[in-house]
C-alpha cells in the first residue's frame, strides 16, 4: 500500500511528465490559453492515462514480454514479442482516445467544441505513449502500481497545464518584449515552473 502511494506522489511531483520529461508539450503549449479549456484537456489526459497504462501493463505481462505466453503452452517459453510493444501500445491508445472522444461528445458538447482538434490528438500526445513506455521500462510489480503511476502522471500533467494557463491569462496584461511575445515567453515560464517543481525532489513517503 505504501509503495503504491509512494509511486503516486512521485509521479505527480518529482517525475512530473511535463517538467521532468517534457512529454505532451505540443498540446500543453497550444491549449493553455484559458484555464477552462486546459482543465478539460487535463482531465481527458488523466482519464486516458489512467486506463491505458494498466491495460498496456496487462498486455505487456501476459502477451509481449519474454516467457509471457507460457499460459498458452509451455513450449512458448522462449518467445519474446516485446519488439511489437510500440505498435500494440499505440493501437490501444488510439482506440481508448476514440472512446473518450465519443463520451465527451455525448456528455459535454461545449468542452468537445472548445478542445477541437486537440481531442483526437491526445492519441499522439507523447505523455500517453510515454506513460506506457515508462511503465515498461520501470518494471512495476503489479497492476495496482501501474494504475497509480498512470493516474499520478495524469494528475501531474493536469496540474502543470492548469498552472501554466493561469499564468498565461495574467501575462496578457504585461509588457513582454515583442520577439518573445506568445510562445517565447511561454517556454521561459515553463522552464521557471520546472525549476520550482524541482524543489520536490527527494521526497519519499
Amino acid at each position: 500500500m505504501q509503495e503504491i502511494l509512494n509511486i503516486f506522489v512521485k509521479s505527480i511531483f518529482i517525475d512530473n511528465m511535463i517538467f521532468a520529461y517534457f512529454l505532451g508539450m505540443c498540446s500543453y503549449l497550444a491549449v493553455s490559453k484559458t484555464v477552462d479549456t486546459s482543465a478539460g484537456l487535463g482531465l481527458a489526459v488523466m482519464f486516458v492515462l489512467g486506463i491505458t497504462v494498466p491495460v498496456d501493463y496487462l498486455i505487456q505481462e501476459h502477451l509481449l514480454s519474454k516467457g509471457a505466453l507460457t499460459w498458452i503452452s509451455p513450449s512458448y517459453a522462449e518467445v519474446d514479442l516485446s519488439f511489437l510493444s510500440f505498435i500494440i501500445f499505440i493501437a490501444v491508445i488510439a482506440s481508448m482516445v476514440q472512446l473518450v472522444e465519443m463520451i465527451v461528445e455525448k456528455f459535454a458538447p461545449a468542452l468537445y467544441n472548445s478542445l477541437g482538434i486537440f481531442l483526437p490528438l491526445i492519441a499522439v500526445n507523447c505523455a500517453i505513449l510515454g506513460g506506457s513506455l515508462f511503465m515498461q521500462e520501470r518494471e512495476y510489480e503489479n497492476i495496482w502500481q501501474a494504475t497509480s503511476f498512470g493516474l499520478g502522471s495524469g494528475l501531474g500533467w493536469f496540474l502543470a497545464i492548469v498552472g501554466l494557463a493561469a499564468i498565461r491569462e495574467k501575462i496578457r496584461y504585461s509588457n513582454v518584449p515583442a520577439p518573445l511575445r506568445g510562445i517565447g515567453i511561454t517556454f521561459i515560464v515553463t522552464g521557471l515552473m520546472g525549476i520550482a517543481f524541482m524543489s520536490f525532489m527527494g521526497i519519499k513517503l
Partner: protein, 207 residues
C-alpha cells in the same frame, strides 16, 4: 522544379523551422539534449523516419480512406520506428540505453504526424520525401545547438571530449550544474526563439 524542391528543403531550416516556428516535436526534443552524441543520434533517427514516412504515405495517399488515415499513419510510423530502434540497439547500444523511451516516442513526435497531414497527404512522393528530410534536418539543427550549449557549459565537454582546459578549473572555474537540469532546455529554446524573432520581424506574434 529543382528550385521548388530546394525551397522545400531550405525553408524548414530557418523561416519555417519545426521547433522554433511551427512549435512541433518539442516533446522528445528537449529531454535528450544533455549530451551532443545522444542529440545527434536522435536527430538522424528523426530525419530518417520523417523522410521515409512522408515518402510511404505519399505513395499510398490515394488509396487511404480518410476516416482511418490516422491509424494507417501511426502504423507506418510505428513500423519505421521499430526498425530504427532495433538498429540503434544493435550498433550503438549505449546511446540507445541513454535515449530509453525517447526512441519509442518518435512515434508520437508531432513533427512527423504534422508533416504527414500537412504535406504528404496532398503531394507527390519526391517533394514529400524532400520536405520530410528538410523538416528532420531543421529539427536536428536546433537539437544540436541546444545540446552543444548544454554540454559545453554543463559538463565542459563536447562529444564526450574535454574542451575546457584543466587550468581554468584550477583558477576557480566551475561547470554550471543548473544547465544540466531539464528546465534549462526550455529556457534555452525560449532564448533561441527570441534571437530568431528579433532577426526576423515578420515572425513576431500580434498582440
Amino acid at each position: 522544379m529543382a528550385n521548388k524542391n530546394l525551397k522545400l528543403f531550405v525553408n524548414p531550416l530557418n523561416i519555417d523551422n519545426p521547433i522554433l516556428v511551427q512549435i512541433l516535436g518539442i516533446c522528445s526534443a528537449l529531454a535528450i539534449t544533455v549530451q551532443l552524441k545522444a542529440a545527434f543520434v536522435m536527430a538522424v533517427s528523426v530525419t530518417l523516419v520523417t523522410g521515409f514516412a512522408n515518402l510511404i504515405i505519399s505513395l499510398l495517399r490515394n488509396s487511404i480512406p480518410s476516416r482511418i488515415r490516422i491509424i494507417v499513419q501511426l502504423v507506418v510510423i510505428a513500423s519505421l520506428v521499430i526498425i530504427v530502434d532495433q538498429i540503434l540497439k544493435a550498433y550503438v547500444y549505449d546511446v540507445s540505453k541513454q535515449l530509453s523511451v525517447f526512441v519509442g516516442l518518435i512515434i508520437t513526435n508531432c513533427i512527423i504526424m504534422g508533416r504527414l497531414e500537412a504535406f504528404a497527404m496532398g503531394n507527390k512522393p519526391l517533394p514529400s520525401f524532400i520536405d520530410g528530410i528538410g523538416n528532420g534536418v531543421g529539427y536536428g539543427i536546433i537539437l544540436i545547438i541546444v545540446a552543444f550549449i548544454r554540454e559545453l557549459f554543463g559538463a565542459g565537454t563536447i562529444w564526450g571530449i574535454k574542451v575546457i582546459p584543466q587550468s581554468f578549473y584550477e583558477m576557480g572555474y566551475q561547470n554550471n550544474g543548473l544547465i544540466i537540469l531539464p528546465p534549462m532546455a526550455l529556457i534555452i529554446v525560449g532564448v533561441l526563439i527570441w534571437v530568431q524573432r528579433s532577426k526576423m520581424k515578420e515572425l513576431i506574434e500580434k498582440k
